[in-house]
Symmetry: none
DNA sequence: ATTACTAAAAGACGAGTAA
DNA sequence: TTTACTCGTCTTTTAGTAA
């Protein structure tokens, strides 16, 4: 997972538009032989971090979604280092009503057991959905769900994987759950907690809520 | 120059206060054997990126000044990638006195005519030399002199090729000239402009100057 | 407990070269 | 001109240990 080469390509603009770059040019950028440069590009492609179009006169290189998200994670790391670390990460937004799906999924034993094991609490069967404000959306994108939730198969159907990260709402510890779906909205988070957060804090749709990210 | 290990140490807080960390603990962080972890710490120390105090029960690790500036450079790179390229590129550094060669070369008709044609101004016969700070050196390396200056031959000798790129110093448009020499220092830029910049801005050796790169 | 040496295995690199 | 294969060499890693 050659992050340095990927970074170089991004600095050359391959995350914005396809970059025309021969292996020998790339070699001079990363200070290596043409062979090594070509191999690195090949590896990056195999790892799905870039996509290529190989032409007789060179190649067109684009950084993929997952390549970009890897770079974003790196940015996140470096920002954290220099954030002077009085830096609590706060996601803020307003409470909204979800589709009620959360309640169904959380109740499933296949997930519930994992929540108990990996989060250390038995979640109230329901999620508190929050529509994030713009800065929080950006911040949210840079948080990777470090706690992995496995998918499983019922007699009827398959339930997908997901991930979580721990959060704190005032004095209550909970977690944000992120289903691993292709089109999951990035401006909404779903929070689970050992209690019914709506009742506990007496909050309703439109209430502003601050959620502190805990690592 | 193992930037990934250095980053890990920074994320663990070694840039803020000495970090107590055994090689076996570090191994688990970087996902390697204890031997490799110990060797990496040793190497980082030899490269002066960290300083250590080795005790019977482990080691105390601190990131040095130069280690931190390396990390800062990485942050700059990633910020540039995601700066959405509304980002102005600023080269910053301190004014120094050059060897006075600039004055000689710029006066030569063979170059001067090209400057007038390609840059659109008649350069004052002298260069403002700036010693770049570390992040600017990195930025400088990634700027290619898009405006090519041809070499020429006098009755006596040959004068080499070079390139330029446009810059702005406050309200004055100028250009950075890059002679195409094998051993041209990468931490210094030479600026030409229609006026004597030292007089115009009343700057002297040691003054900090910001130079905006124009494309 | 540590750190870190040696030796052997694994992996990365570049020269030559095919396609 | 490209990309990228093979293969010999050099570098990095790890297991086993010493200190």
């Amino acid at each position: 997972m050659d992050i340095l080469s990927l970074k170089k390509l991004a600095l050359l603009g391959a995350h914005q538009k396809p970059l025309e770059l021969s292996s020998i040019e790339f070699a001079s950028h990363i200070d290596s032989s043409q062979q090594t440069a070509a191999r690195k590009l090949k590896n990056l492609e195999e790892e799905n971090l870039i996509s290529r179009q190989i032409l007789p006169e060179g190649q067109m290189i684009s950084i993929t979604e997952s390549g970009l998200s890897l770079l974003q994670q790196e940015l996140n790391d470096y920002q954290e280092i220099f954030s002077g670390n009085g830096g609590k990460k706060i996601l803020s937004g307003k409470v909204i009503t979800g589709l009620g799906e959360g309640q169904y999924y959380i109740s499933l034993a296949g997930y519930r057991v994992q929540f108990q094991e990996k989060l250390g609490f038995d979640p109230y069967p329901g999620t508190l959905n929050i529509k994030l404000d713009q800065p929080s959306i950006e911040l949210r994108k840079r948080i990777s769900g470090a706690i992995k939730i496995s998918g499983f198969t019922d007699q009827n159907r398959t339930f997908g994987r997901g991930s979580c990260f721990n959060v704190k709402i005032r004095d209550i510890m909970g977690a944000v759950v992120i289903p691993e779906r292709t089109h999951y909205p990035e401006d909404i988070i779903e929070i689970i907690a050992p209690v019914n957060l709506r009742d506990y804090f007496n909050i309703e749709d439109g209430s502003s809520v601050d959620v502190e990210v805990i690592k």
